[in-house]
Amino acid sequence: MSSWFDYTLNGIIIGNIYALLAVGLALIFGVARLINFAHGSVYVVGAYAGFVAVTQFGTPLPLTILIAVAVGALLGLVIERFGLRPLQGYAHIAPLLATIGISFVLDQIMQLTFSPDPRALPSELLQQRFQVGSGTIGALDLLIAAIGLASAGLLYAFLRYTKLGWAVRATAQDRDAAQQMGVNVDAINRTVFAIASGLGALSGLLVGMYYNYIDPAMSFQATLKGVVAQVVGGVGNVPGAIAGSLLLGLVESYGIALFGTSYRNLFAFVLLVAVLVLKPNGLFASRRQTPPEPMTGTFIAPSKPIHIPYRILVALALVAALLPAVLPDPYVLQTLTNAWLYGLAGLSLTLIAGTVGLISLGHAALLAIGGYASALLSINLGVPIGLSILSAGLIAAAIGTLLVFPSFRLRGHYLSIATLAIGEIVSLVILNWESLTRGPIGISGIPPLSIFGIELDTDRSIYWFTLATLVVLAALQFRLLGSHLGRVLRAVRDDDIAARSYGIGLNRYKALAFAVGSFAAGISGGITSHLYSYINHETFNSQLSILALTIVILGGMGNVAGAILGSVLLVGLPEVFRIAAEYRVLIYGLVLLLLIRFRPQGLLGTV
């Protein structure tokens, strides 16, 4: 085992790399009040820009750095142009979701261009290592530390001593007042996006060199790490972001030393949730700071479901039920079965987001809990399948609600980030709790779907079963939303402040909505596990969370029929047109972007 010196050093190096990411996120948040989820994509693009420069043109290191930074800065300008500028005046969550869409698009483009396979990023530098006391220090370590320090120093000087830097700080503190000083805040936004993205790209390049490894999938993790470091240091706080990054780097490094590599991210996200819940202004916030204002706006746009007559809904359900008789094509039936399952996830999220206004970015975790619950109950305890699926719903509701409950005091962005982190934690716990979940191996041999002992072994019977489940839960949700309770829940969303004055009851209603919603997600995950017969910790991944969110936005938040329509369109159509899997994510990203821009109330919603 290497010495503590090495772990400390490693922690500081990684912390430096995180700092380059987090500082950019903090700057962007400062002036634009936006958590830029496309930041990790910039990081990946930076790494690949360096890769192309080095492998194709054999550029020397300083030039490679320059290229990566320039490419990153340009990309930052593009993101600002399409992710932020058109959405001025929208709810604050809108640009956040737009950056998620942009990151899907960028990551997918990178994957299509460079293939998903990892590459080596050779650096002529520096396999040299120097002996220092009991440990060693590599030339690359020194370089990264030096670049980290130099960037921080330059940034400090810029913010502190230049007129443009003052304008950046002034805009971050009071956008309107800055305008009244003659500051063109749009130009400041662009400047900040360029600087932040340049630093983010540099970070990607350095990571690639440090591990001699890059792949397009690094993006999401990078965004998350940057967000964690930033939240730990205080959202929008530049020095805090640096301190938070170093802390995160050290925590991870020592965590690896003590528990092993697979725990690394678990520490990061536990740290994030703990800071969010206990000190939402970050560890280094000064006393007088209040949480930044945008953390309150939760929904994208006011959306009321378009009224669809009861008769038409029944007729549509009948058509769906009769479909297998008319069109017994197994491919169509499997596709629609899939759509019904995503529809269940959509129902779940649309209830939670549309009533109490909790936009969950980690919804896949509920499906994962349901999937594992039903699989393990049926395999380990021999629970009959139907019962195990029902239990899966209940277990997802119970565990899910318990996990998010502490976060109910958060709002807006903070709440969404908390759900994201909780989702990651669930997936990491599944990965690491080997005695229960079989860890990375996953669970195989999950018994096929059956009900009352009768195995559902035809495409048709499975289709009917999932459709029936969906229809029943959708009908219940219609009833719920139309009831007095439904109105109370919407009141919680529409006027958090007023509802707050009712005191503790507010959290109970949020919990209730979350539990009811989670039930459908758990059922969906449970059924899925029996259909797949094999699941692992990646079956229900963050892409699924974002897909669920896109489905819900497509249909309109809080819109039962919309969630099902969204699912049929997003899951069914790409299948019917046989669009290759790697293009689908691209399409999801684009759909999300276009929706937020042009129809934020959803297809079946009106303002």
Binding site: A167, A170, Q173, D176, A177, Q179, Q180, M181, G182, R288
Partner: protein, 252 residues
């Protein structure tokens, strides 16, 4: 006691004119066909009770809020279509409601932010000295974070910051709000001084009697309509101002 008004110059072509302004926040109309002018070199005061639309008038002039119809003219040129920074560059300084200093920045940085649109570094340095001459208290606070100052001191910073842009017109939104009587006098004195040095002042006040002491002309706004206007001297003794104005204030 506050200083008396400077002799009123001839109101030739007005520096600022609001022409039939109608403003909405969503469905709610805030201004109804608002007309007012500010002559060069004057102090013009906009009085009115709470929520009568005074601050929104400021925001219209500064371009922070756009009117649904009507024009704002500065020196005869329409500016209402321009973004705020452009309007500021044409010589409009702002002392916003509640001061809105950059609390995490030092006093010096705040003052220099006021000169953001200027490039003449040497003249800026001279103006900084002049501003400190006008507001001697600030000299000892230059390195301090603006958020740590007292309310009165913050008001000085806000006024000095606006002056640093060398504006033709300064818009002040309730510059005496929340200040102790001593500071209120001081601030009004300073406004009169600034005006005597050639800067036109348009200010919003709830504190009618004090504001009328330094103003040349005043308008009274009631729920988005000008209900009364005239030379400050006339209004001071006009019983109607009490009715119109205090009527609005009753709502608070």
């Amino acid at each position: 006691m506050t200083a008396g008004a400077a002799p009123a110059p001839k109101p030739a072509e007005p520096l600022l004119a609001l022409d039939s302004i109608n403003t909405f926040y969503g469905p709610v109309q805030v201004h109804f066909d608002l007309n007012l002018t500010v002559g060069r070199g004057q102090i013009v005061c906009l009085l009115g009770g709470n929520a009568s639309g005074k601050s929104t008038t400021m925001k219209i002039i500064l371009g922070l809020v756009k009117p649904a119809s009507g024009v704002v003219r500065l020196g005869g040129e329409p500016v209402s279509g321009l973004p705020t920074p452009q309007i500021v560059r044409r010589g409009v300084g702002s002392v916003p409601e509640a001061r809105r200093l950059f609390g995490e920045m030092t006093v010096r940085e705040n003052l220099l932010m006021g000169a953001f649109t200027r490039r003449d570094e040497r003249a800026i340095a001279r103006d900084l000295d002049r501003a400190l001459g006008l507001f001697p208290k600030l000299a000892e606070r230059l390195g301090q974070r603006a958020g740590t100052l007292s309310g009165g001191e913050q008001q000085m910073v806000a006024m000095a910051r606006a002056l640093m842009g060398r504006p033709k017109l300064i818009c002040m939104d309730e510059p005496t709000m929340g200040l102790s009587p001593l500071w209120v006098d001081r601030v009004l004195d300073l406004i009169a001084t600034i005006n005597r040095e050639g800067v036109t002042v348009f200010m919003v006040e709830q504190n009618a009697s004090l504001a009328l002491e330094i103003a040349h002309h005043a308008y009274v706004l009631q729920t988005g309509r000008i209900v009364l206007d005239g030379p400050a001297g006339d209004l001071r003794s006009d019983p109607r101002i009490r009715d119109a104005y205090l009527g609005g204030q009753d709502k608070t």
